[in-house]
C-alpha cells in the first residue's frame, strides 16, 4: 500500500495535477461528446419527423417553410396545403414529441433514483392511471366540457394531480416516505384508479366512447397544436430537466441508499418528497397532452447510464435527448406504418421496449448470480 506523509485528515494544500488521475475529466468529455452527438441527431430527427408522413415533404421544403415562418425572405415553392400540413400539424406534433419524450425519460431517471429500483418507470406512481380516469370522465361524461377543446387535457391533468396527492398521502401516512412505501403507494393508487377508469367505461355503455378512451390510453401525439398547451408542456419539461440537473449530486447520493444519503449529509426523505412534487407535475402535464406512452421512461434511463455512467449531471440531459429522439421516431413509425391510419404510439414504444426489458432482466440476473 502506498501512503504519503499526511498531517491533517486530508492535505488540502495539494494542488490537483494536470493529469486526469481520477478519470473525472475523461467521463466529462465523454458525456459532452454524447450531448453534442445526440443534439445533432435530434435536429436531424426533427426534420425527418416533420418531413415524413402520409404526405411526404422534402427536407429542403421543411427548411424553407421554417425559414418562411421565421420571417426570413425565401421564395415559396410549395403549395399552401403543404404549408398547412407542415406548419399547423407536423411542427407542433414533433415539438410535442420532443417535450413528451424528454419529460418521460428524465422522470424515469428521477423515479429510478427515488425508489432505488432500475425497473421503476414514471407510471409506477399511478399518476397515469389518475390521468386516464380524468380523460375517461371527460370523453365519456363530458367532464370539464366548459373548457372546450382543452377539456380532455385539463380533466386528465386534474386526475393526475389527484392521483399524486393520493400517492403522497398514502406514502406519508406511516411517517417517513421511504422507497418501498412510495412504491407500494404508487401501485395501490394505480390499481384503484385503473379500476375507476374501467368502471367509467363500463358505466357509460358507449362503445365509441370506450374506443376513444382506449386510444387515448395507448398514447398519441395527435392532439398537438400550436398554442398554450404545447407551451405548458414545453415549459414544465424544461423546468424539470433544469431542476434535476441542479439536483444531480443529490440524486447520485439518493441512488445509493437512504442511510448513505444521510451519512453524506442529505435527507433522503425530504429530497424524495420534493422530487415527487416535480415528477408528478411533469408526468401529469405530459400524460394530459399525449396519453400513457409506455416504456420510454423505463428504457431510456438505462441507455443513458450505459452511455455516460452513473452521475446524474450527465445522465439527465443525455436521457432527455435520447427520450426526445426515441419518441420522434416512434411517432414517425406510428404515422407511416399503416398510413393513412395511425397506430397509437404507445404500441410502438412497447414493442421496442419489451424486448429491451427482457435483455435488461437477463443482464441483471447475470450480475446478481
Amino acid at each position: 500500500m502506498t501512503t504519503t506523509q499526511g498531517t491533517g485528515p486530508v492535505d488540502v494544500s495539494a494542488v490537483a495535477p494536470p493529469a486526469d488521475v481520477l478519470g473525472l475529466d475523461a467521463r466529462r468529455r465523454r458525456a459532452f461528446a454524447w450531448l453534442l452527438g445526440l443534439s445533432a441527431v435530434l435536429v436531424a430527427s426533427m426534420v425527418v419527423g416533420v418531413a415524413a408522413g402520409s404526405v411526404g415533404v422534402a427536407p429542403s421544403v421543411v427548411a424553407g417553410i421554417l425559414a418562411d415562418r421565421s420571417g426570413l425572405p425565401v421564395t415559396v415553392t410549395w403549395a399552401p396545403s403543404v404549408d398547412a400540413i407542415v406548419w399547423q400539424v407536423r411542427f407542433p406534433r414533433v415539438l410535442l414529441g420532443v417535450a413528451v419524450g424528454a419529460g418521460l425519460a428524465v422522470c424515469g431517471v428521477a423515479l429510478q433514483a427515488m425508489v432505488r429500483n432500475v425497473l421503476a418507470d414514471p407510471y409506477l406512481l399511478g399518476i397515469n392511471s389518475g390521468a386516464s380516469s380524468g380523460a375517461a370522465a371527460a370523453i365519456l361524461f363530458g367532464f370539464a366540457a366548459g373548457l372546450g377543446q382543452h377539456a380532455l387535457s385539463a380533466s386528465a391533468f386534474l386526475g393526475a394531480m389527484a392521483a399524486s396527492l393520493l400517492v403522497y398521502g398514502v406514502a406519508r401516512s406511516g411517517g417517513r416516505v421511504t422507497a418501498v412505501r412510495l412504491l407500494l403507494a404508487g401501485v395501490v393508487v394505480g390499481y384503484a384508479l385503473y379500476a375507476a377508469t374501467s368502471f367509467l367505461i363500463f358505466a357509460s355503455g358507449s362503445a365509441e366512447g370506450a374506443r376513444s378512451v382506449l386510444f387515448w390510453l395507448l398514447g398519441s401525439l395527435g392532439l398537438a397544436r400550436w398554442g398554450s398547451p404545447l407551451l405548458v408542456v414545453g415549459a414544465v419539461v424544461a423546468l424539470t430537466v433544469l431542476v434535476l440537473v441542479l439536483l444531480a449530486r443529490q440524486l447520485d447520493v439518493l441512488m445509493i441508499g437512504d442511510g448513505t444519503a444521510r451519512a453524506l449529509g442529505s435527507s433522503a426523505e425530504a429530497l424524495r418528497t420534493r422530487l415527487l412534487v416535480l415528477v408528478s407535475l411533469c408526468i401529469g402535464v405530459v400524460v394530459a397532452a399525449a396519453g400513457s406512452i409506455g416504456f420510454v421512461g423505463l428504457v431510456v434511463p438505462h441507455l443513458a447510464r450505459r452511455a455516460v455512467g452513473a452521475r446524474h449531471v450527465h445522465v439527465v440531459p443525455v436521457a432527455a435527448l435520447m427520450g426526445a429522439i426515441l419518441l420522434i421516431w416512434a411517432d414517425v413509425v406510428a404515422r407511416t406504418l399503416l398510413a393513412p391510419q395511425e397506430i397509437p404510439i404507445g404500441i410502438i414504444t412497447s414493442l421496442v421496449g419489451a424486448p429491451f426489458l427482457l435483455v435488461l432482466v437477463r443482464r441483471l440476473h447475470a450480475t446478481a448470480g
Partner: protein
Amino acid sequence: MTGAEARLSAEGLRLTYGTRRVVDDVSFTVRAGRVLGVVGPNGSGKTSVLRLVAGDAVPEAGSVVLDGRPVEGTSPRALARSLAVVAQDEGVAETPLSAAEMVMLGRNPHLGPFQRPGPGDIAIVEEALRRVGALDLARREVATLSGGERQRVLVARALAQGAGTLLLDEPTNHLDVRYQHEVLGLVRSLGSRDGTATVVVLHDLNLAARYCDDLLVLDEGRVAAYGVPDAVLVPEVIEPVYAIGVHRLDVDGVPHLAFHPAHETHGEPHEHLA
C-alpha cells in the same frame, strides 16, 4: 494517547423496537486517535448502537455527544462534516459510479446544494484514494471491484468527508483473511496518524483484539463488559455472552480466543498451543 479530548461520548442510550428493548443503558467514550470495537452475538444491539450514534435512530433515553454537540438535533449536513459512516452492504453493487465519483460524494456535505466540486475537492479525493492505496482503482466502476477494494473505496469516501470520527459497521464482512487485516490495519493507522476516533462493529473477536484499543461487549442490548481487550476478552466474560466455551491464548501479546462448543468439552484444550 491518554489525555486527548473525548470526540464521541454516549450516555445511557436506550432504544426499543415494539416491545423489544434492543439497546439498554449503553454508555461509552471514544477519544481522538482511539479505536473502539463493538462486539457481541447476533441481535445483541451492535448495529442499533451504531445507528443511534449516526443519528439514524433517536434514542428513547440518553444522548450522544459528538465534538461537544449533541447528535440529536444536528442537521444531517453538519453531522456529516464531523462524522463519516461506512454502513454494511451499502447499495453500491448496482451503481455504475466510478470509484473516484463515489469518493467525490464524500464532499457532498461540504458543497452547497447546487455547487460543483472544484480543484480543491478533486485534490482531496485523490489524496483520500492514495491514502487507502486505491488510487489505481479511481477509474474502475465500484460494482466491478472486489469486496476488499470496495471497502477501501468506502473508507476513502469517509476520509474525503474530512470527518474526525468514523463509524464502520462490520467492514470485514465478506472479506478474506488478508483483506480483513488490510482494512482494519488501515483503520488503525488512521487513528494513530490523524487522530481519527473510530467506532467499529466487528463479529470476529480476534480481529477486535488485534486492532481495537477498547472493546464494548454487548449482550441483549446491555453492556456485558467495557474496557481494553486484555481485560474484556476473558472466558468469564465471553463464555456466558456467546454461550460457548472459550480458551484464551496470547500470541505476540495479543489475546487470541479459541472456541469449543459445549458438547465437546470432554477434551481439554491443547495447552501446547500456547
